[in-house]
C-alpha cells in the first residue's frame, strides 16, 4: 500500500509547505505573526483555532527565547500535533458477538466508498462482515453498495428503494446473527445535519440497532469531506448531538493537503479522527496518524 506521503507526492502546493519561504531567515517581527496567521487561515484551520495557536506560539517563543522566524516552524508543528492529541487506538472487544458500525454524514461526503474501504481493511483482520444498505432514499444508492459488496465478497442486506431504512437495519441485524457475522456496517443516506426530520430518522436507526444488539452501535463514524471548510464543525456538532459520534473518517485527502478544520473538531469537540480516505479505490483508507497528518499539511519531503 502506498504511504500517505507517496499518495500525496504529486501535490506540491500545500499551504503550510510554503512556511519556510514565508518565514524566511529574518528575526521574528510583527510581519512574521501576520504571515503565520495567513498560512493557518488558508489551511481551513479557522479563526478561533488559529488565534489559539498563535497565542501558544508567542508564549513559547518568549519563554524559549526563539529569535529566528524560521525556528517557529518546528514549534508550530509540535503545537499542531499536540492539538490532535495521541493517536486514537480503538479497542475491539473480542467477546463482542456482533460489532455494529454506523456510518453517517452529509450528502456526498464519501460514506459508501468509505464503507467499501472499511470492508477491505476489516476483512484483512479476518472479520466476517455484513453490510446494511440503509440509504433507501438516494437513487441507486443500494446498487452502489451492492457493487462494492460484490467486489469484496461481502453480503449486502437491502430493501426496496424508498422502503423504511429501520426495517433494513433490523433485517441486517438478523442476517448478521444468522450468518454468524461479527461485524455489521450500516450505510446511511446522506443528510445535512440541519434537517430535523432526517436527523430524527437517524436516531430511529440508532435505536433499532441498540434495541437489537447490546450496546450497538459500537462505533458511529462520521464521514467528512476534507475539502469542507468551517461548516465541518457544524456537521460534527450536529451529528454528535443527534446520534453520538465516536470517530471521524476524513475523505478526499488525495487532493491537495487539506482538512485543517480537523484541528477544531478534535480539539473543541473532542471527537477523534479515525481514518483518512486517500482515493476512490478500496485500498485507499488508512488509520489516522496525527504526526503524519501534520507532516502532510507541511508537505514535507526530505
Amino acid at each position: 500500500m502506498p504511504s500517505l506521503r507517496e499518495t500525496l507526492a504529486r501535490t506540491r502546493n500545500s499551504i503550510l509547505g510554503r512556511i519556510q519561504t514565508v518565514l524566511g531567515q529574518a528575526d521574528i517581527s510583527d510581519e512574521t505573526w501576520d504571515d503565520l496567521e495567513s498560512l493557518l487561515l488558508q489551511s481551513d484551520i479557522g479563526a478561533p483555532t488559529t488565534e489559539k495557536l498563535l497565542t501558544n506560539l508567542r508564549k513559547r517563543a518568549a519563554s524559549e527565547g526563539i529569535v529566528k522566524a524560521s525556528a517557529l516552524r518546528g514549534v508550530l508543528r509540535s503545537e499542531l500535533v499536540a492539538l490532535l492529541g495521541p493517536k486514537a487506538t480503538p479497542v475491539h472487544d473480542a467477546k463482542l458477538l456482533l460489532e455494529v458500525i454506523m456510518v453517517v454524514g452529509v450528502n456526498g461526503s464519501g460514506k459508501t466508498t468509505s464503507i467499501a474501504k472499511l470492508c477491505h481493511l476489516y476483512l484483512k483482520h479476518g472479520r466476517k462482515i455484513v453490510l446494511a444498505a440503509a440509504d433507501t432514499f438516494r437513487a441507486a444508492a443500494i446498487d452502489q453498495l451492492q457493487i462494492w459488496g460484490e467486489r469484496s465478497g461481502v453480503p449486502v442486506i437491502a430493501g426496496a428503494p424508498n422502503s423504511d431504512p429501520g426495517a433494513v437495519v433490523y433485517d441486517a441485524v438478523q442476517a448478521s446473527f444468522n450468518r454468524k457475522a461479527d461485524l455489521l456496517i450500516v450505510d446511511t443516506a446522506g443528510r445535512l445535519h440541519t434537517k430535523h426530520n432526517l436527523m430524527q430518522e437517524l436516531k430511529k436507526l440508532r435505536n433499532v440497532l441498540s434495541r437489537s444488539v447490546h450496546d450497538a452501535p459500537h462505533q458511529t463514524l462520521l464521514v467528512i469531506d476534507a475539502a469542507n471548510g468551517q461548516n465541518a464543525i457544524n456537521q460534527a456538532k450536529g451529528f454528535a448531538e443527534a446520534v453520538g459520534v465516536t470517530g471521524v473518517i476524513l475523505t478526499k485527502l488525495d487532493g491537495t493537503p487539506k482538512g485543517g478544520v480537523t484541528f477544531a473538531i478534535v480539539n473543541e469537540l473532542g471527537i477523534p479522527i479515525r481514518y483518512i480516505g486517500t482515493g476512490e479505490k478500496m485500498t485507499d483508507l488508512q488509520e489516522f496518524d496525527p504526526e503524519a497528518f501534520v507532516a502532510n499539511l507541511f508537505d514535507e519531503k526530505e
Binding site: Q146, Q230, N231, N234
Partner: protein, 443 residues
Amino acid sequence: MFENLSDKLQAVFDRLNKRGILNEQDVDVALREVRLALLEADVNFKVVKEFLARVKLRAIGAEVHKSLTPGQAVVKIVHEELLTTLGEPGKLDLGGPAPHVIMLVGLQGSGKTTTAAKLALRLRNSGMRPILVAADTYRPAAILQLEQLGKQLNIPVHAEGNKIPPPQICQNAVSHAVQGAYDVVILDTAGRLQIDETMMAEVEKIKAVTKPQEVLLVADAMTGQEAVNIADAFNKRLGLTGLILTKVDGDARGGAAISMRAVTGVPIKFMGEGEKPDAFEPFYPDRLAGRILGMGDMLSLIEKAQVNYDEAEAAKTAEKLMSAKFDLDDFLGQIRQIKKMGPLNEVMAMIPGLNKLSKELTPDMTDKQLKRVEAIISSMTMHERHNPDVLNASRKRRVAKGSGTSVQEINQIVVQFRQTQKMMKQMSTNPRMRGLGGMFGKR
C-alpha cells in the same frame, strides 16, 4: 459561532462611541470584525484581503446617514460590496441552433448527478426537450443513478454502460440528440480532483468533442479555502461559463461562492437547495450576501412567508409588530402562520437575532411547545389576549385547567411573549428590518 455581524459592529462602535463620519481608525476596528466574519464563512483568505481593501476605501470618510448607526453604515457598505462581488445572477446561454450542450463538472460528491436532473427538469418545465447523458463511468452505480432519476422525471437518459470512454459516449449523445431533435444535452461527468491530470485531460477531451455552450462547475456550498484552487483549475482548463452552488439548504455560510466568483469572474447561475429534483433555484446574490455576513436568510424567509402567509393577516401582523401593538392574540396568529412554514427552529434559524435561540431549542421541544402555547392562548379570553397584564392567579388557574397545562407554563409563555415583544420593538427600530413590515404585506 458569531452572531449577527451588525450587532458585533455595533458593539465595536459603542465602545468607540463615535458618530457622524467614519474615520480610518474606526473603520479598521470594524473591518477586523468583518474579516473574521468572512473567514468564518469560508471566504478565501486572499479574497477577503482584496475585498476589505475595497470596503475600506469606500468606508473611510463616508458620512453616516441619520437613520443608521455607524455599525449599520459599515454593514451597508460591506453588503453592497459583497453584492458587487457576487455579481448579477447568471442566466443560461441557450441561444443559437439546438442542440445546446451543457457540461457539468466538479469534484467528487459535489452533487453533479442530482444537479443534472434538476437542471433537466427545469428546462423541460420551460418547454424544452432535454436529454441527460451518463458520462460517469467510474463511480459504481453512477449511471444507474442518473437512469433512475431520468425515469422518475420522465426525461430520457443516454447511457452506454461503463466500457466506452466518456468522450465517446458524450459525442454519440450529441449526434443522438441531433437525430432525436432534443434541444438540450446535459452531460453528467464523473467527479474529479482538479489536480488529477488524467481525469482533467479526459474532461478537456469531452469539451473538445461536444463543444458545450455552457460549462458549469458544480460546487459544494460547504467548500473551504480550497475553493479558489478548484475553481481556478477547472476554469483554466475548461473555460467555465458559470457556477452552481449546491447543498445551500444547510447552514453553510457559502463563502466559497465569493471565492470562486472572485477567482473566475464567471457568474453564479443556480443554487441547489435540497435533495428533491425541484429544489433548484436561480441564484439570488442578496440572499447569499446576507448569509455570508451571518445576517440570516431574511429574504428566503420573507419569500417563504409570502408563499404561506395569509396576506391580509400578514399585513395586519406586520403593522402591529412594528408598532409594538402586538398582543397574545397576534402571537397566536403568528404561531399558526409559522407552523405552516415548517419546523420552527428551521424558520427561526433564518431570522437574525433568533438563530442563536433556535440552537438552544431542540426541534422536539419547539414543535411540542408550539402546540402547548397554542392550547394555552386559545384558552384565554380575547380580553386576556389583548391585555396579558390582567392575568392574575385565578385567571391563570382557569387557563391552565382549560388547556391542560400548569400555571407555571402560563407564566413562561407570558415571559416569552414579553421577550418577543421586546425583540420586535428592537427590530422595528433597526432600519435594515424596517422594510420587513412592508414586505410581509406587499404583492
